[in-house]
């Protein structure tokens, strides 16, 4: 029969076992600010990591590269190891380790496009994770396919946008046909008042327009280039 002290020891161990992981998670959750030591340059990196409904979420800021609040993906936290990626054209992978107290630092490797640099981040406060905007539904009369043309460098581009509403917001098939048939990956569809916007961040294309006399009248933008575009209901 176990003694009282043995029972108490077991209870204490169980408490430690349940508390330790959350302490490790607490240690990793937060805003981390530091640098990646790229040759001849110190790249400032700000990483926000937090737990949400038992899963890790995060975002990254790199002021020198025009990166603000891009979501982290493939976050893997197995204390003291912390790994995550930034997808898209930037293509970053960070493999870090939480250094033991009193360091309070994440240190490791910053990898981008086949280059590697040592990185050290210092915890500066609670996390301020940025969440990507979500697509809204679009008005019922916008659902379906719209078509129109615009001129670029003396060539005609044929545009097709097909809207559909779903429980999580609208989706759209965005196709531009010039010399090539381009299916644009759509990140975001929003309707604010009568203004509807379709964005493809990876390709850098945006369409915005308003429903006017049965047509979607607006403009298509690629970077700084904006061209008027009227989309008609496809027959």
């Amino acid at each position: 029969m176990p003694t009282t002290s043995a029972v108490l020891r077991l209870i204490a161990m169980l408490i430690v076992a349940t508390v330790l992981p959350s302490r490790a998670e607490d240690a990793i959750s937060g805003r981390w600010v530091g640098t990646a030591r790229v040759p001849d340059e110190e790249l400032t990196v700000v990483v926000d990591l937090a737990q949400q409904n038992g899963a890790w979420v995060g975002s990254i800021i790199i002021p020198g590269l025009g990166v603000k609040g891009i979501p982290l993906t493939d976050i893997k936290v197995e204390s003291p190891d912390v790994k995550f990626a930034v997808k898209g054209s930037l293509g970053i992978q960070m493999n870090l380790q939480l250094l033991p107290p009193p360091e309070n630092k994440l240190a490791g490797n910053f990898e981008q496009a086949g280059n590697h640099a040592p990185a050290t981040l210092q915890k500066t406060g609670p996390p301020q994770v940025e969440y990507p905007p979500r697509s809204t539904p679009v008005a019922k009369e916008l659902e379906g396919e719209w078509k129109g043309d615009y001129e670029m460098l003396g060539n005609t581009r044929h545009v097709s946008i097909k809207f559909a509403n779903h429980p999580g917001g609208a989706t759209a098939d965005f196709v531009i046909v010039g010399r090539k048939h381009n299916v644009l990956p759509v990140d975001l569809i929003t309707q604010e008042g009568d203004l509807v916007t379709v964005e493809s961040h990876d390709i850098g294309f945006t369409f915005e327009g308003r429903l006017r006399e049965g047509n979607l009248t607006g403009a298509i933008r690629q970077g700084a280039i904006e061209t008027p575009l009227v989309l008609l209901r496809a027959k």
């Binding site: 025009g66 054209s89 496009a113 700084a224 280039i225």
Partner: protein, 434 residues
């Protein structure tokens, strides 16, 4: 005279002609970009490297065992081809991303100070100088989509100055003031000038008494070399929106009655030299053709900027024969020597490719490129676009271009003499490889 003496005499004459074909941009007046002599199919070592005070965009030329080139530090240099020791230097008041021409014991070259110079080839003493109406880069509002779009911005990729061609007692060159100039090569007196609508930084080629050159006004011109009268003009592409797909920056080659020229409208054109009529065009999917084409054995060799492709096409039809994917933009012009093609790449690498297949035989990367300051390059030596061109706002693209150049990019077109490859790098050195 016995046969052996005749053979020796002919060989000497051929050698002398070959050497003359190394004393101006692209070799000689027709700018075919082909050079006589052996070509190294393997890289052995750096024979020497010559330091200057700034980027070397200029291409080296060779005359009487001396290498001549311009520096962006404002100096013209004469360097011993064998040892890399400086023979003389002469200062101008501006960068010289132009290639000199050497003829009649004189070195001719233009400078960003808006003057065109003639120096004694042996001593560097100034013979004369001529003031144009001033240099400037191509510029436009909203250039390449840069913001603010209503502000005029100078083109950071307008990197070369026009290189002169010397013939018939005259020296011909283009200028940022929009003119093509013809000066008396002995005195510097103006013979005539021909006005175009924009910057002329392409280098004129000369064949059968006609000068061929393009302007940033989107026209390509044929002008009588003795009178300066226009014979014909050809209209390239226009881009009124962002001025990205417009202008002739490439310099032409004229071979067998056909003019071959690249254009920023993404085409390589073949034009009838007599009429200006288009024979064919090779479209490069919105990627500029800045390189000046090289032409030999019925084939045209050229490369592209953004798509970084090395092409060989049939000279009479424009049909593709070979294409190879390069690592980075190419502004340097290919030099053909024996069975090897040499070309500089903006990632700081010189490439030697097999003439027939286009396969890479060897490459040489400058130290500054290896250091990869600020990760301008990816791990496999491509341009790291997210680290460079992440902003179109104000000077950001200009700063990015400077970073790109700072990696030691090879804009200079290689010259091969007696199996030694000479070229400049934006790292500030002139290299001799063997």
């Amino acid at each position: 005279m016995n046969i052996s003496k005749i053979v020796v005499l002919l060989a000497t004459l051929c050698a002398a002609r070959a050497m003359d074909a190394q004393s101006m941009f692209r070799g000689d007046a027709i700018h075919a970009g082909t050079y006589a002599g052996p070509a190294p199919r393997q890289f052995h070592r750096v024979k020497w490297k010559f330091p200057t005070g700034d980027r070397v965009i200029s291409s080296p030329v060779f005359k009487d065992n001396v290498i001549y080139f311009g520096g962006d530090d404002g100096n013209v240099y004469a360097v011993d081809a064998a040892t890399g020791r400086q023979i003389w230097k002469r200062a101008t008041n501006g960068p010289m991303p132009a290639t000199p021409a050497v003829a009649n014991g004189t070195v001719y070259i233009g400078s960003y100070d808006g003057k065109f110079y003639a120096f004694n080839a042996q001593t560097g003493a100034l013979r004369w100088k001529f003031a144009t109406n001033g240099e400037r880069r191509f510029e436009a509002k909203g250039l390449h989509g840069m913001q603010p779009k209503d502000q005029t911005i100078a083109d950071p990729f307008d990197i070369f100055l026009s290189s002169p061609v010397v013939a018939n007692g005259a020296v011909y060159f283009g200028s940022g003031d929009g003119n093509l100039y013809a000066l008396d090569s002995a005195t510097g007196d103006l013979r005539w000038k021909f006005k175009t609508g924009d910057v002329v930084h392409a280098s004129p080629a000369l064949a059968d008494g006609v000068l061929f050159f393009g302007s940033w006004d989107s026209y390509f011109y044929a002008v009588d070399a003795s009178t300066g009268k226009e014979k014909w003009r050809f209209h390239g592409g226009e881009d009124p929106m962002i001025h990205n797909q417009v202008g002739f920056q490439s310099s032409p080659a004229v071979v067998n009655g056909t003019v071959y020229t690249g254009c920023r409208d993404s085409n390589l054109y073949a034009l009838d030299a007599a009429t200006g009529k288009e024979k064919w065009r090779f479209f490069n999917d919105l990627s500029w053709v800045i390189t000046s084409p090289a032409v030999t054995d019925g084939k045209v060799f050229f490369a592209t900027s953004d798509s970084s492709l090395y092409h060989v096409v049939d000279a009479s039809t424009g049909k593709p024969i070979v294409h190879q994917q390069g690592k980075a933009f190419m502004f340097s012009s290919p030099a053909i020597v024996s069975d090897v093609v040499f070309i500089g790449v903006l990632n700081g690498t010189l490439e030697a490719r097999d003439l027939k297949t286009g396969d890479l035989l060897w490459d040489f990367q400058v130290e500054k490129s290896k250091r990869n300051s600020g990760w301008v390059l990816t791990g496999d030596r491509k341009f790291n676009v997210p680290f460079l061109f992440h902003s179109n706002w104000r000077e950001a693209p200009l700063v990015a271009t400077d970073q790109q150049i700072g990696i030691g990019g090879i804009y200079s077109s290689p010259l091969v003499v007696n199996g030694v490859v000479y070229f400049g790098s934006a790292d500030g050195f002139l290299y001799a490889l063997e």
